[in-house]
């Protein structure tokens, strides 16, 4: 039933993400149409959406169950009810993570299918393999953002978690904008994307995986020991 509970919590976020992509697809389609430059326009326009999806998907942790309550009142929402169930905190976080990551994967697949279907110009400029590689690269690169957001959600209330996450990632993006290294995750989502380079950005994906693992283990440790 924890799976069901998690699904109920994230379903509107999934719907919101898909709607955002649909609107963005429509906007790119209107502006760039099927001209040859559509690939560059698309990867640029979509990069921030992938990151936003990762941030939003992860932000439903134990702490955010008090979303509709004022912290000043000392209320904790359903947090204590959840923590009093005979389930370990590791399992709670693990199931939440699997559901969130799956949701992110589904949204990315749907958005990429939409891209491929709507923009025949893509077929000329790239291969199906590159498109699949693009989807894979987005997914892996976004895992780092996902786990960063999951960590923030343990400490911050929903509003501050999203603003804080966006601000922190925005600063990182700005600081790394000129870095041409293959390790640059932001670059792998834009000009280094497989749709443009026709190569999988393994170094950036490796960086994201390493960051994800560290953040996952750190967040797990925090959840196991933190008092909510």
């Amino acid at each position: 039933m924890l799976w069901y509970k998690n699904w109920l919590e994230i379903r509107w976020r999934a719907a919101f993400s898909v709607t955002m992509y649909a609107l963005q697809l429509y906007a790119v389609y209107r502006n760039a149409g099927n001209r040859p430059g559509v690939v560059a326009a698309m990867t640029g326009a979509f990069a921030y959406l992938w990151i936003l999806t990762a941030l939003m998907t992860a932000g439903t942790g134990i702490k955010t169950q008090s979303a509709n309550l004022s912290a000043a009142k000392g209320l904790h929402g359903s947090t204590y009810f959840t923590l009093s169930l005979p389930v370990s905190r590791s399992d709670l976080f693990g199931i939440r993570t699997i559901m969130g990551v799956l949701q992110m994967a589904v949204v990315i697949v749907l958005a990429n299918c939409g891209l491929w279907a709507l923009f025949p110009a893509l077929h000329a400029g790239t291969t199906l393999g590159s498109a699949v590689g693009y989807g894979l690269a987005i997914f892996v690169c976004c895992l780092g953002f996902y786990f960063f957001s999951a960590l923030l959600a343990v400490f911050l209330d929903p509003m501050w978690w999203l603003y804080g996450g966006l601000l922190a990632i925005g600063i990182c993006w700005w600081l790394t904008r000129g870095v041409e290294s293959g390790l640059n995750v932001f670059r792998a989502l834009q000009q280094g994307a497989p749709l443009i380079t026709h190569t999988i950005p393994w170094p950036a994906m490796g960086t994201s995986l390493a960051i994800s693992l560290i953040l996952f283990l750190f967040t797990l440790r925090v959840i196991q020991t933190r008092e909510f």
């Binding site: 039933m1 919590e9 904790h76 009810f81 009093s84 005979p86 370990s88 008092e227």
Partner: protein
């Protein structure tokens, strides 16, 4: 194997340097109905959270069913305990029947018969989302979810909060029958002294993080008495009363004494005062409570 379902030894807990528990000791026997009393901020909720393993003590030890309440064993404690939280908040996106189905899936000893009975008795609308329930309805649902777990121990933090008087009576009756028929241990915190007096067989009064009175309610009521002394004229020098005079209040010629022991010696002392008229009265739980939390 210990007879105590709950044991706390010298529990200490502070929040940002402010002490919430200050060396609390507690023993709750299996099968008892234990009222945990205290003013706001006395440490009741902190104690319950520590016992449930939701918080960690700074020092001291808490055990439930003989198991340390923090760490991995807390899952076993949760499996055997029905818990009503202070906030009474559940998942706002789930319906009443959804919450029942969800909670049921974690407890192999879940009692469908009890869930059905309380659903009808509390008149809970099965299809309504919990966010749309009144505070009283949320309390009732929380109670249903705790009781139906088929738990050996019910840990209830202000269970009557938000309930109307009729619902409080229903709840107390059900708790009493549960304790009598199933041998369930009930540990509950409350401000409502009348309801504690109605069902508790043991109590603990906590003040500023310490237990100031503990024991069987009957024993405490026998032990504590009020002695009223009306003097011929006001005393110029205060009397040094014998040991056992817990609290003494003098207004003019009237002296009111709450006595916890040595009642006969104190009566003799009072009667020896010139022209004194002495009467003794039984005390209520409220009097015991107020005397202890006002002055400690």
């Amino acid at each position: 194997m210990t007879d105590f379902v709950i044991e706390a030894n010298e529990l200490r807990k502070s929040y940002k340097g402010a002490p919430a528990l200050n060396g609390l000791n507690l023993r709750v026997r299996a099968g008892s109905v234990y009222g945990f009393l205290g003013r706001n901020g006395a440490g009741k909720t902190t104690t319950i959270k520590l016992l449930m393993g939701l918080l960690r003590a700074d020092s001291g030890e808490a055990r439930v069913f003989g198991l340390p309440s923090d760490g991995a064993t807390s899952i076993e404690i949760h499996r055997r305990t029905g818990f009503v939280t202070e906030d009474k908040q559940m998942y706002p996106y789930m319906t009443v029947e959804g919450m029942i189905r969800f909670t049921r899936s974690f407890f192999p000893k879940w009692r469908d018969d009890l869930a059905k009975r309380y659903l009808e008795m509390f008149e809970l609308p099965p299809r309504r989302k919990t966010a749309e329930l009144s505070k009283g309805m949320q309390s009732k649902l929380m109670l249903l979810l705790a009781i139906s777990r088929g738990a050996e121990l019910l840990m209830l933090d202000e269970p009557s909060d938000g309930l109307d008087p009729a619902a409080v009576q229903d709840m107390l009756r059900e708790l009493m029958s549960l304790a009598a028929a199933e041998g369930t241990t009930i540990f509950f915190s409350s401000h409502q002294l009348a309801e504690v007096e109605q069902i508790a067989d043991h109590i603990c009064i906590i003040d500023r993080g310490r237990a100031v009175v503990t024991g069987s309610l009957d024993d405490l009521k026998c032990q504590y008495q009020r002695v009223l002394v009306i003097l011929e004229r006001e005393l110029s020098v205060p009397v040094r009363w014998v040991e056992g005079a817990e609290h003494v209040r003098q207004e003019g010629r009237t002296v009111s004494i709450l006595v916890s022991r040595n009642i006969d010696a104190l009566l003799a002392q009072a009667e020896s005062l010139p022209g004194a008229s002495v009467e003794r009265f039984p005390v209520t739980l409220q009097e015991i409570f107020l005397e202890h939390v006002r002055t400690h």
